[in-house]
């Protein structure tokens, strides 16, 4: 699954650790999701969407 996490993070000037802290997950998790190595569960995807104040489909798309 493709995602725009890296771009969205850069727009807000957040590091991976900053985003990880906001999501309550490890930095490794953010890195794995961002690089497309791991697809988050639906609850985590909702949390990510809420953190960026966007809809899930604006962040993730079928790759």
């Amino acid at each position: 699954m493709k995602n725009r996490l890296k771009v969205l993070r850069a727009e807000r000037d957040w590091s991976q650790q900053d985003l990880a802290d906001r999501l309550g997950v490890s930095r490794q998790s953010v890195n794995a999701i961002e690089t497309g190595k791991y697809d988050p569960s639906l609850p985590l995807a909702f949390t990510i969407a809420e953190t960026f104040a966007m809809a899930i489909e604006e962040i993730f798309e079928r790759g």
Partner: protein
């Protein structure tokens, strides 16, 4: 999960201590093969490098506290896991030492021998329990997936090795191995699982 502002020095890598432990066990194995030392001395020598487990845990924790990449991510579940493993490892060492000392120096009744022989196994069971609790308590779904993956790889390796060895032993082409060695192979498998995690997901996991 929040990173504290104060960061402690990271110190030596846990892999440094793991390498030291491996080297130490290599020396012990060489001594055992060449019959250079007595059985009692060999037993003591086998116990000593195990103390490096605590150095490895401490080094991993220091790196986690310093915000560096580590196989043990920061989190309450991991901290509880490290504490539980440290406690059960210590219990294992004590149980093993007591069992060996009493067995060698006293004529024990069967009931007492049974009870004493049960203790190291129960301590190892405690380590398995700690890993199970880590899977249950870990709140980070990615880290949890890595731990489960490590455990599955370890299980496949240990059961596979036990099956193959068992048939070789039945065919009398391999020497007898006490069953507790399969638990050791399982723990070794966790290391293989961590490497597999690193290759596929870029992170080691948490066990």
């Amino acid at each position: 999960m929040t990173q504290g502002n104060e960061r402690k020095p990271a110190g030596r890598s846990p892999f440094f201590y793991a390498g030291l432990m491996l080297a130490a066990y290599g020396v012990v194995a060489a001594l055992a093969i060449t019959d250079s030392v007595s059985q009692t001395a060999l037993f003591v020598l086998m116990l000593l490098p195990f103390g490096l487990v605590f150095m490895i845990i401490n080094a991993a924790n220091r790196r986690a506290d310093a915000g560096l990449e580590t196989c043990i991510a920061k989190g309450d579940a991991q901290r509880r896991y490290v504490r539980r493993v440290a406690i059960f490892s210590a219990l294992y060492l004590v149980a093993l030492a007591v069992l060996t000392y009493l067995s060698k120096n006293y004529e024990l009744s069967e009931v007492l021998r049974f009870s004493l022989a049960l203790l190291p196994g129960l301590a190892v069971l405690g380590i398995f329990w700690a890993i199970g609790r880590l899977i249950v308590e870990e709140q980070d779904e990615f880290m949890r997936m890595l731990i489960v993956r490590q455990s599955l790889i370890a299980t496949g390796l240990a059961l596979g090795a036990a099956s193959v060895w068992g048939f070789l032993e039945s065919a009398e082409v391999a020497p007898h191995l006490d069953a507790y060695w399969w638990a050791i192979v399982w723990f070794f498998g966790l290391g293989i699982g961590a490497i597999a995690n690193r290759i596929q997901y870029g992170a080691w996991g948490a066990v």
